[in-house]
Amino acid sequence: MSNPESAELLPFIVYFCAVVLLVATMLILSWLLGQRRQNKSTNMPFESGVLSVGSSQIRLSVEFYLIAIFFVIFDLETVFIFAWAIAFFELGWYGFFAILVFILVLTVALIYEWRSGALDWGVKTRTGIGES
């Protein structure tokens, strides 16, 4: 422990040990002193006191996920455009053309999504699949 860095670390090590000790004491004490029951409802899932109904394996339409992913993508795009808009005057024409290219790429992606039927709910109308 001659190294000054290790001396600085000492409080953290003590703290870490104290946390482990505290949690262990609490668990062991409650295990030793606590009561144990084996009823019909002991092992039932506890949902804020409400009995659970039905299966947890619900099948959701995949379109919900698709829309959620579109939201993430377009939301991120908005973030970038906002960042550019705040610094509009500082960035000048260089920034303008950069964001123009960015928006162009986004538009192409949107056209792709539209044409491949990702925006339709329910029955998909895709390009080329049935035709070719």
Binding site: Y112, R115, S116, T127, G128, E131, S132
Partner: protein, 482 residues
Amino acid sequence: MMTPTELYALAPFIWLSVGVIVLMLQIAFSRSLNGACWVTNLTLLVALYSMVGHDPAGIQVTPLMRIDALGLMFCAVIICGSVVTSLLARDYLKQRPAENEEFFLLLLLATLGACVLVCATHVASLLLGLELLGVALYGLIAYPEKGERSLEAAIKYLVLSGAASATLLFGFALLYAATGTMDFAILADKLDTIQVNSNPIIVLTAAAFILSGLAFKLSVAPFHMWTPDVYEGAPAPITGFLATVSKGAVFVVLLRWFIDGQLYEFRGIILGLSAVAIASMLVGNLLALRQDNIKRILAYSSIAQFGYLLVVLIACGTLTESIPLAREAASYYLLAYIITTLGATGLLTLLSSESARERDHIGDIVGLFWRRPLLSLGFTVAMLSLAGIPLTAGFIGKFYIFKIGADAELWALMSAVIVGSGLGIFYYLRLVFNMTKNPRQVHALPQQTSLEGRSVLLLLTLLILALGVYPQPLMDYLSAIL
């Protein structure tokens, strides 16, 4: 602000990106496999042509990328590899009707990522390239719609690759904490002062994390577990792409980081790399012996090949003046490896293009010599080159490894290379023997593969032989530009 010269230097990247956009619009309005294939190849050729006439001395474009001879040469190799992959993939995909056009979109994106990677001189561009390449590859590996094996392979690759990227990031974060820079060249100066002034433990830890992350992508032991499963599950053209373009690009960026950042001055890193190199030579070659799947054999063989290649990095540690030779050796070895592996997986792709099933079991090539003499000859040349038999490109590559290893007096590594090569001959020749077996099964199959697939394979075979018989022009060229 970018000057016109810098924009001109970035031309290949810009063309590749434009190609991606055009291909996306084309898929949106008229889906056609042939159309997508031609747009892809046109893009790749335009990008290749836009590299002609660049200054080989190199130009730094923003702090992120350096477009120099090494980067341009490997960009060209990567683009040629993608051309081969896309030509072979067209026939392969025709056998598997589905929405196959996006395959080419992902292929172009992966190519762009690999090109960014070989020109990266900064941690940010390294990660950008790596992720662009990786994310496109997840899609490509899982491409066959109903393939359970490919889905399994893609999930394995996704999870493990994500863990490797996290390790890599953590390593770079530690390195940044220690040195305060993310640029490879500045890193070298900073490391010099740190090594003199205080203890280098944080740098060593960082380097260990970074090398583990990159070693995963290069699949050297002990980070090789994913390789056979992913190679086996991926569609045959992508197995070739993964083994050549993806690994080659990662090795080039490792070379840049390791040499520009002067990481070879740390004794501990060199020792660790030596252990990894010896382990992957032995593990790769020993585990390949009992495999019956050709893709798995190629996977284990690539583990061993990258073990040999690591000798080049280790040699920089003991012999600082051998660094130009190290670059030359690594470039030649990688070129030979890429051409050879593309040839070997190309044959598997051609065979798999004739049926809806992957023909990658050793039983599928029994008696191939009697059915497809020319193709089997090409495969034989590729196997001999991987084994390092004279008159093939692989021999010259291995010769470079021996030369640099002997110069640096790395005798333990050299003996591992010899043992590994000896073991390797067994399973490479086993494949060749299987092709000559059983001449009774001579039923002339209808030739279903297209002309360009076969001619690409023939061209690769001729290249392997040319680089093995007359390597002087390429060697002179490499030593002139690097």
